[in-house]
């Protein structure tokens, strides 16, 4: 603009100087030129009007102010508005005082020659709306340096300011949202990761590091570091990476998985949820997700399914027990008829006849059935309340003595019994069966030798916990541990080992009732069983029986249930010395006068020498030389009324090919081996009374 006015000025000067000299033609030419200049000026004004720029020109001395039409419009004045001077303009403008002050200061500064130009923003109210203006101006000075004109342009910055403000706000909103996200993540206890695939930049949130047990301040910059340092369980890590790679290779978006981490040696379950973003070609560019510790839920779920399993097992065993009880009832009625009528038939059959032998065989079969049903009954719930105080340590000693008497030299037996006189309420024979069955199973689990450990102790349980079978409420328990060093029980059958008729032994060698019986008895006694098994260490059964006082004070009532002898002389015959000495000792304690033999022929010789010397015969069946049944025949030939108790492993437990049915018939009582002291005492008392 300045140049425009300079040009105009120069033209006028030229006209003035040359005016008198010019011819009319030349004057006309000059006029034409002036017209052109005017046209240029008009054109310039038109351009100015059309332009979005606005300018001002203030002649300081005359206080003559020119505002371009666009500037008038910007400031909200009607076109053609004139102002008497600069002061008049500012009087018409509403500018916030601080902006006005800054504006005045900037202009004064510039006029004073301190700044090369003025560039300032200020706000002004236009039609009641605050607009932002930017003014850029420069003073023109005369030779003395005084400001003669003040010219500049002005622009409406409002839109830009708005955009900037919007940007700031959105940035702050973004920041807020980031913070919100962090807060939400913190609140949800989750951590997150973010992998920018093209750059391999990897970010893991501090919370995720914390959850996984890394020290505060841990960072990984790329995913290789993640791969190298992540403490995910190797199985799960392989599973997760495979699934992620499959996701990346496909078109899917999300992946969720529950995985294990090993955090400070402890397994923690995390729920991972990832989402991937792809570029236009479908290539994954970002892989982001959250990790949430779900260990508590997982444990609760496991506990729930475990308790459901227990419940199912308890129900199954309960149902089997009920079934067994019903079968036992009906079957014993049937056996009652078979054996009862058999007994009568045998009485009438000519002695030694074929008929007598056949009926005897029927009765042996009936006896076997009876023994089997008796075992079935052991795990059915009788609940008649057949309970007396039982001195556990004594029973465990007895049972162990019997079971381990025949143990092979390759097996070492460690017994550590420290329960003193502590007692439970129950049935001594049942407790005996529990110990005998567990110990027998343990020995059978070690066919090529090993170590049998039996421990008995007292334990106080402070809070309820569940066991493999049943639950252990707070209280004091007698704890019996029977451990073998065998091959262990395979995990897929461990749940079924307590089921009746479940057996891993060869057909014919076991009834599959041993552990069912243990389970039935322990449950009825209000106890619980824990089983742990591994191929390395073998199998350990831990039986918890609720303690009920001391046996010393109450032992007498338990003893009362066992009939005592009164000096009767009992002939004991068993080829195994330990069993002879055990039986001898037991019967001595019960008030009998036992005489033991390990050879059946020696025993027969002693009997033959004085048939009236003995009041009863207790004999094993299976012996070298003369069998138990042969001995009984010989004895009965000498003295027909001689009371006889036969001990046999035959009933129910084995196929029974080797042992004689006749012996069982001839004997007054048959005891299944292993024989408890109580069973022996009771049988003996019965045969002596008869």
């Amino acid at each position: 603009m300045t140049s425009l006015w300079v040009v105009l000025l120069a033209v006028c000067l030229l006209v003035f100087v040359l005016g008198g000299l010019l011819t009319l033609r030349r004057q006309r030419a000059l006029l034409a030129e002036l017209k052109q200049i005017k046209e240029a000026e008009q054109r310039y004004a038109l351009v100015m009007d059309a332009s979005d720029d606005a300018f001002w020109d203030w002649r300081v001395a005359a206080d003559d102010l020119y505002l371009s039409p666009r500037l008038l419009d910007l400031l909200g004045f009607a076109a053609g508005t004139k102002f008497a001077g600069r002061a008049a303009l500012f009087k018409s403008l509403t500018i916030p005082p601080e902006d006005r002050e800054a504006l005045d200061r900037a202009v004064a500064d510039h006029f004073a020659g301190n700044t090369p130009r003025v560039e300032i923003e200020f706000r002004v109210l236009v039609h009641g709306e605050e607009r932002s203006m930017q003014a850029i101006g420069r003073a023109t000075r005369n030779a003395e340096g005084e400001v003669v004109r003040w010219i500049g342009v002005m622009r409406d910055f409002t839109a830009r300011r708005c955009a900037e403000k919007a940007l700031r706000e959105s940035q702050s909103a973004l920041l807020d949202s980031d913070q919100r996200y962090e807060l939400a993540m913190a609140a949800s206890e989750s951590g997150y990761w973010d992998w920018h695939v093209p750059t391999n930049r990897y970010f893991v949130s501090p919370r995720a590091f914390e959850l996984n047990g890394y020290p505060a301040g841990t960072t990984w910059v790329n995913r290789d570091e993640y791969r190298a340092a992540i403490n995910m369980h190797p199985e799960d890590s392989a599973r997760w990476e495979a699934a992620r790679e499959a996701l990346f290779a496909g078109t899917g978006e999300r992946l969720a998985m529950e995985v294990r981490y090993i955090v400070r040696g402890e397994t923690r379950w995390h729920s991972l949820r990832g989402i991937c973003r792809r570029d236009d070609t479908g290539k994954v560019i970002r892989w982001t997700g959250s990790t949430t510790d779900v260990t508590e839920r997982k444990l609760a779920e496991q506990a729930l399914s475990e308790s459901e399993r227990r419940l199912r097992q308890a129900q199954r065993l309960e149902a089997m027990g009920t079934l067994a009880g019903g079968i036992a009832h009906d079957f014993n009625n049937i056996l009652g008829a078979v054996l009862g009528y058999g007994e009568m038939a045998l009485r009438d059959a000519p002695k030694g006849s074929r008929l007598a032998r056949d009926v005897e065989s029927i009765m042996i079969a009936g006896e076997r059935g009876r023994a089997l049903v008796d075992r079935v009954l052991a795990f059915s719930r009788n609940a008649v309340g057949e309970r007396v105080p039982v001195h556990i340590e004594k029973i465990v000693q007895e049972a162990l003595g019997l079971v381990t008497a025949k143990v092979s030299p390759a097996v070492t037996v460690h017994a550590d019994l420290r329960a003193g006189t502590a007692a439970i309420l129950g049935d001594p024979t049942q407790v005996h069966q529990v110990v005998a069955n567990l110990a027998t199973n343990a020995l059978q689990a070690m066919p090529s030798g090993g170590t049998l450990r039996v421990k008995l102790g007292l334990e106080r349980v402070e809070a309820y916990r569940s066991a493999t079978i049943g639950g252990i409420a707070a209280g004091e328990y007698l704890v019996l541990t029977v451990a073998d060093s065998g091959e262990g029980i395979s995990p897929d059958i461990i749940e079924r080992i307590f089921d009746p008729f479940f057996t891993t032994k060869e057909v014919g060698t076991g009834t599959g009732l041993g552990l069912a019986l243990v389970h039935g008895i322990v449950t009825e006694l209000g106890g619980a069983i824990d089983v742990t098994s591994s191929p390395d260490t073998g199998t350990t059964f831990v039986v918890y029986l609720p303690r009920s006082g001391e046996a010393s004070g109450v032992a007498d009532s338990a003893e009362q249930a066992i009939p005592r002898g009164d000096g009767q002389r009992v002939l004991i015959v068993d080829d195994e010395e330990p069993l002879v000495s055990l039986a001898t000792r037991t019967l001595e304690e019960l008030g009998y006068a036992p005489v033991g033999f390990t050879s059946s022929s020696d025993a027969l010789a002693a009997f033959r020498a004085d048939p009236q010397r003995f009041d009863a015969l207790v004999t094993d069946e299976r012996m070298p030389g003369m069998s138990g049944s042969a001995l009984i025949r010989e004895v009965r030939d000498l003295r027909g009324s001689m009371p006889v108790v036969l001990m046999s492993g035959f009933l129910g437990a084995r196929g029974g090919t080797a042992e004689s049915p006749q012996a069982a018939i001839a004997a007054d009582e048959i005891l299944q081996k292993p024989v408890s002291a109580r069973d022996l005492a009771m049988s003996l008392a019965r045969v002596l009374r008869a």
Binding site: A378, E386, R387, M682
Partner: protein, 115 residues
């Protein structure tokens, strides 16, 4: 014969009942399967030991005589049987199946106080 008094038998199983009648008859007892008048002994089967107490109560309302309980669900050779018998208020319980001698011994023991 039949001088030893009347025994009432309460057992649903016909064969067992007949067997009891036979053995007890041989031993000199009179046997009735129904409501005999003032028996010296009642022999009753316990189908379910859990309800043995209730059975005892109903029998005791009808009979003043001692009671011998039989059951296919009693176990043999339990030291606790004596305790079970005591709790049920009888002298003896007799597990099925039983021999003639076991029966007669249990009957004698049940009648012990009465004679």
């Amino acid at each position: 014969m039949n001088l030893k008094g009347l025994i009432v038998i309460r057992d649903e199983d016909v064969q067992i009942r007949e067997l009891l009648e036979c053995w007890l008859g041989e031993a000199g007892y009179t046997v009735s399967g129904s409501e005999g008048k003032s028996p010296c002994l009642v022999i009753a089967d316990v189908p379910n030991p859990r309800r043995a107490q209730a059975l005892m109560e109903s029998l005791q309302q009808v009979y003043a005589a001692p009671i011998l309980l039989l059951s296919g669900r009693f176990r043999r050779g339990l030291a606790g049987s004596a305790e079970a018998a005591r709790r049920l208020g009888v002298k003896r319980v007799l597990p099925k199946p039983f021999t003639r001698d076991e029966l007669l011994s249990a009957v004698a023991a049940s009648l012990d106080d009465e004679h």
